[in-house]
């Protein structure tokens, strides 16, 4: 198993055949798809495709369990924001009036549309994080010639966050080893106690930052590259080669995006009027 940014993927996973740049390109472009698609069912199809890609990549799908409560909570927040807290709109179609709170069809519909847009975006991000290692992100950034300074700072942030996560696990165990047990306790209690994690994590991060800086300075590292007076070598890129099928995948993703844009703006596709799900809901709720 290889540890990725968000879980584990077997060493034999076919995802390792794909160049890191393709994965980053997939994240950046595919997460834009839902912005141009209003139909909830089309966005749900994108999400299903991403889940299938995760299966193909042999990602342990149990990792998704941690997102279920987040997805549910987010759904409720969006629904309440659009309906109960949506305000008064005489121009909209009133579905119900519950204790003075007006529920409009258009607001409910918009809430569902927004929620179904966010879900595939999150799925794309989870797909990227569960299949990419720290180094993949750096390689992808350097492949598209993002300035060294930006990549460097980003790499340090990734490295630091990885260490913080490892420290978090140890700190959690250290708290448990001293009888800290949140089973059956209230949410307020848990939040209050979890804040305590921040103290050792913060102190360790400060000490690490100083060690990082000293270690880099001790090896003549400088952002400007002036210390060595030579062009900086991207050794990390030599481990990867961009193959023909990587190019084909990038082309396919780009074509798909252009097709979506063409359908959306040229043929008014993915509109709510043509959404069977929305029409069905309207028939039920009206």
């Amino acid at each position: 198993m290889n540890k990725t940014l968000l879980g584990y993927v077997p060493k034999e996973s076919p995802i390792y055949l794909i160049h890191p740049f393709v994965k980053l390109y997939f994240l950046l472009v595919v997460s834009l798809f839902p912005m141009f698609i209003t139909q909830p069912e089309a966005n749900l199809v994108i999400m299903a495709v991403i889940l299938l890609l995760m299966l193909w990549s042999r990602v342990d799908l149990r990792i998704l369990r941690i997102y279920v409560p987040v997805a549910i909570a987010m759904g409720w927040i969006i629904l309440l924001s659009y309906t109960v807290l949506g305000g008064t709109h005489p121009e909209f179609e009133l579905l119900a009036n519950v204790l003075g709170i007006k529920i409009y069809w258009e607001r409910l519909r918009d809430g569902i549309v927004v929620y179904c847009r966010i879900l595939p975006m999150i799925a794309t991000m989870v797909f990227f994080l569960t299949t990419s290692r720290e180094r993949d992100v750096i390689v992808a950034m350097r492949s598209i010639r993002i300035p060294f300074l930006v990549t460097y700072v980003f790499a340090m942030a990734l490295r630091a966050s990885g260490m913080v996560l490892e420290d978090f696990q140890i700190v959690r165990q250290a708290e448990q080893a001293r009888g800290f047990d949140t089973t059956g306790k209230s949410l307020g209690y848990k939040i209050r106690k979890y804040v305590m994690y921040m103290i050792p994590l913060f102190a360790l991060s400060l000490r690490r930052t100083e060690e990082f800086t000293n270690a880099l300075v001790a090896r003549g590292y400088a952002f400007t590259g002036e210390a060595a007076k030579v062009k900086r070598a991207d050794y990390i890129l030599t481990h990867y080669s961009f193959r023909l099928y990587d190019g084909i995948l990038v082309a396919l993703i780009s074509i798909l995006f252009i097709v979506i844009l063409a359908l959306r703006y040229g043929y008014n596709a993915f509109s709510l009027e043509s959404s069977p799900l929305i029409n069905w809901l309207y028939q039920i709720l009206r």
Binding site: Y8, P10, I170, A177, R178, G179, D181, M196, P200
Partner: protein, 284 residues
């Protein structure tokens, strides 16, 4: 004669990490009252994983860890930590509070003890580790590493566990601090009735303090026995990429002259030298 009841019984223990690493394989082990044990082995041999299984931080993938009458699989962490304490390698990972008093009181408060008992336990633990009262209101992060280690141990002692596991107690300490910590652990073992388990790569420390050694490699127990006996098994130790202390190696090389290959300390070597010299003088 009655057979003593083990404090901990580990039966066919297997542990697998989420990434699929099989860290422990068919471990069988018994730990008794009064023991001072060292877990040795190269990095990744399973020492720390085994220790975390002993106090319930890790639940076995298969097999059982039974502490007195508790099975770690079915017991809560609160029940387990009252019996088995675990001191982490880096004290910074386990200091959460803004002063040493609250730090030591954290465990007893977690297990819902009344405040008078918390006070009593904090004072007792601080006294045992030799933490002067003037440090009670200090922030633990501003203490020296040696003192932070003491606060970390005191915070576990306050839970009054029968068994205390100390992960790498001498890492990052100079020789004087290392011996201070080890003397303190020996005192806990001999005078306060605690079973001590240390995880270490420091063979002279093992030779000087541990009475039993469990040598591990690739998730299995390779050797388990009295320290001198384990150190005699040089071929087996080579598998763990560890060497016995130099004095033991010297005794093993000159064992043909009558030296015990299980010699652990310089004092013992000198005593043997004097005895052998006396015998030789008498023969002449």
């Amino acid at each position: 004669m009655n057979t003593p009841t083990p404090f901990i019984r580990v039966v066919n223990l297997n542990y697998q990490y989420p990434d699929g690493t099989h860290a422990l394989r068919d471990i069988n082990l018994e730990i008794y009252d009064g023991e001072f044990i060292a877990f040795i082995g190269q990095n990744g041999s399973g020492k720390t994983t085994l220790s975390k299984c002993l106090n319930g931080l890790f639940k076995p993938t298969s097999g059982d860890v039974i502490v007195e009458d508790l099975n770690s699989k079915t017991s809560s962490i609160v029940q387990m930590v009252r019996r088995v304490g675990y001191v982490f390698q880096n004290p910074d990972h386990q200091l959460f509070n803004s002063n040493c008093w609250d730090e030591i009181a954290y465990g007893p408060r977690n297990i819902q003890l009344p405040e008078e008992q918390v006070k009593e336990r904090v004072e007792e633990a601080a006294k045992v580790v030799g933490l002067p009262e003037r440090y009670f209101s200090e922030h633990p992060f501003f203490l020296s590493k040696g003192l932070r280690q003491r606060v970390a141990i005191a915070s576990i002692l306050a839970l009054r566990p029968k068994l205390i596991i100390v992960d790498e107690p001498t890492t990052g300490q100079d020789a004087r601090q290392s011996f201070e910590i080890m003397d303190f652990l020996r005192d806990l073992n001999e005078n306060h009735g605690h079973i001590i388990v240390i995880i270490t790569h420091d063979m002279p420390i093992v030779a000087a303090y541990a009475r039993r050694v469990v040598a591990m490699g690739q998730g299995r127990i390779l050797a388990d026995g009295p320290t001198a006996e384990v150190f005699k098994q040089t071929d087996l130790l080579a598998q763990t990429f560890l060497e016995p202390p130099q004095i033991t190696q010297l005794a093993q090389r000159v064992q043909d002259l009558g030296y015990d290959p299980g010699t652990l300390t310089v004092e013992s070597m000198v005593a043997q030298y004097i005895a052998l010299r006396g015998k030789k003088d008498n023969n002449n």
